[in-house]
């Protein structure tokens, strides 16, 4: 029986040439002493495959229609067997892909593997990074809950900043001049057909280039890349020292990728998919759209950059970043590869890393947003031990007039404006009055909103906070 199947396999293999095709790819010579830091690229690929498979599984349950997508999401989340886990895997898979592709890119930059002759490896990688971020974003829209709807509006607004064609691009993204029936059909097509097709093509190119140009050897300080001699040198180097890619180098990739996939599944099982944020009803305004975490750094940037330059920066920023990424292998494609000999490059990586993480952290807190959920300030939390009726009225006004959405007193309130717990010791009553009436750069002028009496009560209360 065993022989029978073996014979069948032999026949198929002979007529199709599978082994002939695969073996050289698997066994191709790789530099020895492959490092654990070389595993991120293959892990990105394996997680992508996981995304394709779970994506197809989700498409069996999902309705790509503006009117019923949300109901199908509810069905997947609450009713379908393992539906929530499936959604979870796809979500944590997306998160993992973004982290892994980021780490892979950082590693490639740190070891300068983008230098000659691997410039196109880097460039195709940048294209894949852009596609991956685009997939992450459109995937979040497909959830088609209120955050999905409003995130698509936010994206349309960003496209609106493109000179001349802004409004057209925004309408192209939304599938019309408003959110509506055609919006989700578009996002579905972008996420399920157009972007994946691009990813398949560029993964093909990227992998082909890895075989053509070889896996970069771990860098060594003082061993310079010279485009005139590198290829010949690399050939000799492989002849002398190489090991077969599988299993000598690839065993780490397989183990690491498997661990990542297991972690993704565990997260999906125990934490589940992100909760839906309500019906996709564009007429409901009492909602706070929040993007998935990997979009939060962008979201934070829009709050933190100077408002005056923002419309321009929103357009120029991403374009400049993409241009710079494409330009890297042209700026330096030879010379030193060792991170130890490229201190400025390492400093740059560190800066970018710190920049993104800080944006992420501050975006998670979003101190610039009014805290609509703040509870009225209790009298026990104010400084005055025996408040008179004026102060009590001031406390109530502090909440009612929205001051507390942005200002904190004794842990009650938002963080957009300064903490006012001891404002009475910083500002006199007349200074308080001027500030409240005129507002400031980032505070509304309350002169036209408060009556004289209300203003007086507020000032008396705030002055007592010392």
């Amino acid at each position: 029986m065993k022989k029978f199947f073996k014979n069948i396999w032999r026949w198929i293999d002979d007529r199709t040439g599978i082994t002939e095709l695969i073996t050289p790819l698997l066994k191709h010579p790789a530099p020895p002493r492959a490092l654990w830091s070389y595993v991120f690229g293959s892990a990105t690929l394996f997680v992508f495959i996981l995304q394709v498979i779970t994506g197809i599984a989700l498409s069996l349950l999902y309705q790509p229609s503006s009117s019923s997508a949300y109901q199908s999401l509810e069905f997947i989340t609450n009713q379908a067997k393992f539906g929530n886990v499936l959604r979870g895997i796809h979500y944590y898979g997306a998160s993992a892909m973004i982290i892994l592709i980021g780490l892979h890119m950082m590693r490639t930059y740190i070891t300068a593997s983008y230098k000659f002759p691997r410039e196109m490896n880097w460039i195709s990688g940048v294209v894949l990074l852009i596609f991956t971020i685009f997939m992450g974003f459109t995937g979040q829209l497909l959830r088609w809950d209120s955050s999905g709807v409003w995130s698509s509006v936010v994206a349309a607004q960003q496209l609106g900043r493109v000179p001349f064609a802004g409004t057209w691009l925004a309408h192209l993204l939304l599938g019309g001049s408003t959110i509506g029936a055609q919006s989700l059909s578009r996002f579905y097509s972008y996420h399920v057909f157009i972007a994946p097709a691009g990813i398949f093509i560029f993964i093909g190119l990227h992998l082909y280039l890895v075989f053509r140009n070889g896996i970069s050897e771990p860098p060594k300080a003082g061993r310079l890349v010279d485009p005139n001699t590198y290829r010949a040198w690399y050939k000799d180097y492989l002849k002398e020292k190489s090991v077969p890619f599988w299993p000598n180098a690839a065993w780490r990739d397989v183990i690491f990728s498997s661990v990542i996939i297991i972690v993704i599944i565990l997260l999906a099982t125990f934490l589940g998919a992100p909760a839906l944020t309500g019906q996709p009803d564009p007429s409901v305004v009492h909602t706070s759209p929040t993007p998935d975490w990997y979009m939060v750094p962008f979201f934070a940037l829009f709050a933190l950059m100077p408002h005056k330059i923002e419309s321009v920066a929103m357009m120029v920023g991403p374009l400049a970043t993409i241009f710079l990424l494409f330009a890297i292998p042209f700026i330096s494609n030879k010379g030193e590869r060792s991170p130890l000999k490229r201190p400025w490059a390492m400093f740059g990586v560190l800066c970018v890393f710190v920049f993104i993480i800080s944006l992420l952290v501050s975006g998670m807190k979003a101190p610039w947003s009014p805290d609509f959920k703040t509870k009225p300030l209790p009298l026990s939390a104010i400084k005055s031990p025996h408040p008179d009726s004026t102060i009590v009225a001031g406390v109530n006004l502090f909440y009612a007039k929205g001051c507390q959405y942005c200002h904190k007193i004794n842990k009650y309130g938002g963080a957009a404006g300064p903490d006012l717990t001891i404002v009475g010791s910083r500002l006199s009553s007349s200074e308080l009055t001027i500030r409240i009436v005129n507002g400031s750069n980032n505070m509304p002028a309350y002169g036209g909103i408060l009556s004289k009496d209300e203003l007086n009560k507020l000032v008396v209360f705030l002055a007592s906070q010392k």
Partner: protein, 177 residues
């Protein structure tokens, strides 16, 4: 003798080359033609949103009596371009302010910064945006935060005591703002 043969051969080769060139050009032209023709409906589907004139329609949002003087209320209506399969996404809303006796102002709910929905805080008399802290006064002008311009207005008209507002495309802020 030999020379004549070579010449003949050369002529033949030239003929062959021009034949090849012709075949190449012919086949590639046919391929290009078929691709171009197929592309017309494909590109048209891609650009569909730009090929339609965005409609503007008057929608009833309530009666004058529903809106006491000085109040700002949320009104919901069906957007300008509802497709039969739009479901709940055909809905849209606006903030309607009864400003003085005969004057109503309608504001788009979209913050001019990045389009998030602003909410009216009645006691504070301010519109506030949950996304990046944009704040507007009751007349829609910017009070604080990143918005580059005031809230967008819809046209309002009163017909037999019935308030109607003219729907518009989603307001998109451009780079010049």
């Amino acid at each position: 003798m030999n020379e004549v043969a070579t010449e003949n051969k050369n002529q033949k080769t030239e003929k062959e080359i021009s034949r090849r060139k012709f075949m190449m050009k012919l086949s590639l032209s046919f391929a290009a033609l078929s691709a171009a023709v197929a592309a017309i409906p494909v590109v048209s589907a891609l650009l569909a949103p730009l090929l339609e004139q965005p409609p503007e329609k008057w929608r009833k949002v309530g009666m004058v009596g529903d809106f006491p003087l000085g109040t700002t209320k949320l009104v919901t209506f069906i957007n300008a371009d509802p497709k039969a399969y739009a479901g709940i996404t055909a809905k849209s809303s606006a903030w309607l302010r009864h400003d003085d006796e005969n004057n109503f102002i309608a504001f788009a709910v979209n913050c001019t910064h990045l389009g998030c929905p602003v909410r009216w805080e009645a006691k504070a008399e301010l519109f506030m945006c949950p996304c990046h802290g944009g704040v507007y006064y009751k007349d829609g002008t910017v009070a604080a935060g990143p918005p580059p311009k005031p809230l967008t207005n819809y046209k309002v008209r009163i017909y037999k005591n019935e308030i109607q507002i003219q729907t518009k495309p989603l307001p998109i802020t451009n780079i010049t703002a």
